[in-house]
């Protein structure tokens, strides 16, 4: 083996690496727990665990820490490498091997969940039908060609591209979309259209749409779990010959904004990121039951109609607490409800690797039972052999 290859192998097989990584994970969890007070659980998950390097703010200090992907990834490699090179398979150690195998599956499962899990929501009013779910936090700019009477042709630009002020020229758009300003969190208020934005405001001029009568006040990003950020962007549409103007887009603007260009009608909307499904749900009825004679909640349930365009599925389903709908790889949980206004919200989760933690736990449980069982048998056997001569 080449000396360098051997060095790399020894590094990854090393038990010292395991100890260092476990120590790192302790520090990481400690730092993340403290940071959660300020940042909330979602941001902490993203910054500390779904990253390679985490930056921990301690007062005015910025402390770099190995992120969850780095620690978990190295731990996974370390564990697999140890299995290949250090732990030779023996029946009497089958329990340890199985337990380690379970740990590997658990780590891979967590990695795949971090990479592939979708966690969206679907909000429905009674009799409303939807075939898409929406992100809890991510936004997108939808540029919609509404000319066709039957269909909408939609081009969506993620908010990450707006935040980087990238110019978007898509083959389906006869114009360029240029971001002039993006505010991750902003407050909107009505103002006189003829008055300028607030003095000293760096907000670019808005020449088109209802944004011209709205004052935009950028706000700091909030991390509080009970608050949400409302982004706003000022975008310019530039045709082949000239600019068509600048628009303010925000989920806060109640009315859709439309314009005409090249003989077609377009609509602009900054909205929560959507994920369309190959089926539709219609909310038929929401029910909030209470125990008779009390105000105690007994049950929250939503009766929905599930349909597919090909007509293969057309059935009613009752979704209630702890009884989600599993369909097409998605799980719809009863999440929130307002029975008074006939409104329900489902949490829509897709996690292709959802079985792995269960498999891992079974492997580890079985491995531990096997290992302790083998040790017990060995102990009994040893005791029997040592006690036999004494008896004789």
């Amino acid at each position: 083996m080449h000396p360098f290859t051997r060095q790399v192998r020894d590094f990854f097989v090393s038990l010292k690496l395991t100890v260092v990584l476990l120590a790192c994970s302790l520090v990481l969890v400690f730092a993340a727990t403290l940071a959660q007070v300020e940042l909330g659980i979602y941001v902490v998950q993203e910054r500390f665990f779904h990253s390679f390097i985490a930056i921990w703010h301690v007062g005015s200090l910025y402390v770099p820490l190995p992120g969850g992907y780095l620690v978990g990834g190295l731990l996974l490699i370390n564990l697999i490498a140890a299995h290949i090179y250090r732990l030779k398979f023996e029946w009497r150690k089958a329990g340890i091997q199985l337990t380690h195998g379970g740990l590997i599956v658990l780590l891979i499962g967590e990695l795949l969940t971090g990479l592939w899990q979708e966690d969206f929501s679907m909000q429905l009013s009674e009799n409303e039908t939807k075939s898409y779910s929406e992100s809890f936090r991510l936004h997108e700019l939808a540029v919609i060609d509404t000319t066709d009477a039957q269909f909408d042709d939609v081009v969506v630009i993620p908010d990450t591209k707006l935040a980087r002020s990238e110019t978007v020229q898509h083959p389906k758009l006869p114009f360029r979309v240029v971001t002039r300003a993006f505010y991750p969190n902003a407050a909107l208020a009505r103002r006189d259209a003829s008055a300028p934005q607030a003095a000293g405001s760096a907000v670019p001029a808005i020449t088109q749409g209802m944004g011209s009568a709205v004052a935009v006040t950028p706000l700091p990003i909030t991390y509080k779990p009970n608050e949400t950020n409302s982004p706003a962007a000022i975008i310019e549409i530039i045709g082949a010959d000239a600019s068509l103007g600048t628009w303010l887009v925000s989920p806060e603007l109640g009315m859709p904004q439309t314009f005409s260009h090249a003989g077609r009608t377009w609509r602009l909307a900054l909205r929560l990121q959507r994920a369309y499904k190959p089926f539709a749900l219609q909310l038929l009825k929401v029910t909030h039951d209470i125990y008779v004679g009390t105000d105690l909640p007994k049950n929250f349930s939503s009766r929905i109609k599930l349909t597919t365009p090909d007509g293969r599925d057309d059935r009613e389903v009752l979704i209630y607490m702890n009884n989600p709908l599993r369909y097409g790889g998605f799980t719809f949980y009863q999440y929130q409800m307002n029975a008074a206004t006939g409104l329900t919200v489902f949490q829509v989760v897709r996690n292709p690797s959802w079985l792995l933690p269960y498999i891992a736990c079974i492997m580890m449980g079985f491995g531990l039972v096997l290992q302790f069982g083998l040790s017990l048998l060995k102990f009994i056997d040893k005791r029997r052999t040592t006690s036999t001569p004494a008896a004789a």
């Binding site: 992907y69 939609v154 949400t228 806060e252 109640g254 009315m255 929560l272 209470i290 909640p297």
Partner: protein, 220 residues
């Protein structure tokens, strides 16, 4: 072959991670036309959204539903503060959620169509009566009118201690013939705007109900 295994494992892991770190891309798709959706902010649950005894779920704010409407549930928008007005809406109007910019919101449905009634309030005179009337005119595709023309088009309505300037505008919104009934009143140093906007025939048919609704608006 044995010596290549770590490299292979590393390569697979890096590929997985690279897959996870990829940026969201611009995408295009075609979807069947939606029925006119209610305005995003109007779709939110009313304040206190969940029943008071609903168990907290998912870590979201109680009363802040998970979708789009939750986005502005708690951000500070300089709308009017102080004591609000109260009203009684016709039973046929469907209450929608209030929001940071709306004090009240209703879906007015009739014959398969739907109009949107919004109630907003802002401090001061928000630029004055005439600019606001012209702003409404622009929303139904009408050019700005002179103060004299606007005054001539105004109707005046006295309700329960409040005076309303009411205007009716016919034009187009979103490419369809539309009608707007708007009413402005002042209370406690704030301007209150009541606006019903929707299909022409529907709003025309709802005018008596709208005027009767204004009569129910009262200060606390």
């Amino acid at each position: 072959m044995r010596t290549h295994r770590p490299t292979l494992v590393l390569a697979v892991l890096l590929l997985l991670l690279a897959n996870g770190c990829r940026d969201r891309e611009v995408t295009a798709y075609r979807v069947p036309k939606e029925k006119e959706a209610p305005p995003p902010m109007a779709a939110a649950a009313p304040s206190g959204g969940l029943p008071a005894d609903h168990p907290p779920v998912g870590g979201a704010a109680p009363g802040a539903p998970a979708g789009a409407p939750a986005t502005m549930a708690n951000t500070a928008v300089p709308t009017a503060s102080g004591a609000g007005l109260s009203w009684t809406a016709p039973a046929s109007w469907t209450p929608k959620a209030a929001s940071a910019m709306r004090r009240g919101s209703f879906a007015v449905k009739r014959d398969g169509g739907e109009a949107d009634l919004s109630i907003t309030a802002f401090p001061g005179d928000t630029g004055g009566l005439h600019p606001n009337l012209n702003r409404w005119r622009s929303q139904v595709g009408l050019p700005a009118a002179s103060p004299t023309e606007l005054d001539a088009a105004l109707q005046h309505l006295d309700g329960q201690g409040l005076h309303f300037d009411v205007i009716e505008l016919v034009g187009t919104a979103n490419g369809a013939p539309s009608r707007m009934l708007g009413a402005i009143t002042t209370h406690g140093g704030n301007s209150w705007f009541f606006k019903l906007l929707g299909p022409d025939a529907l709003v025309a048919a709802e005018k008596p109900a709208f005027l009767a609704f204004l009569q129910t608006v009262k200060a606390p």
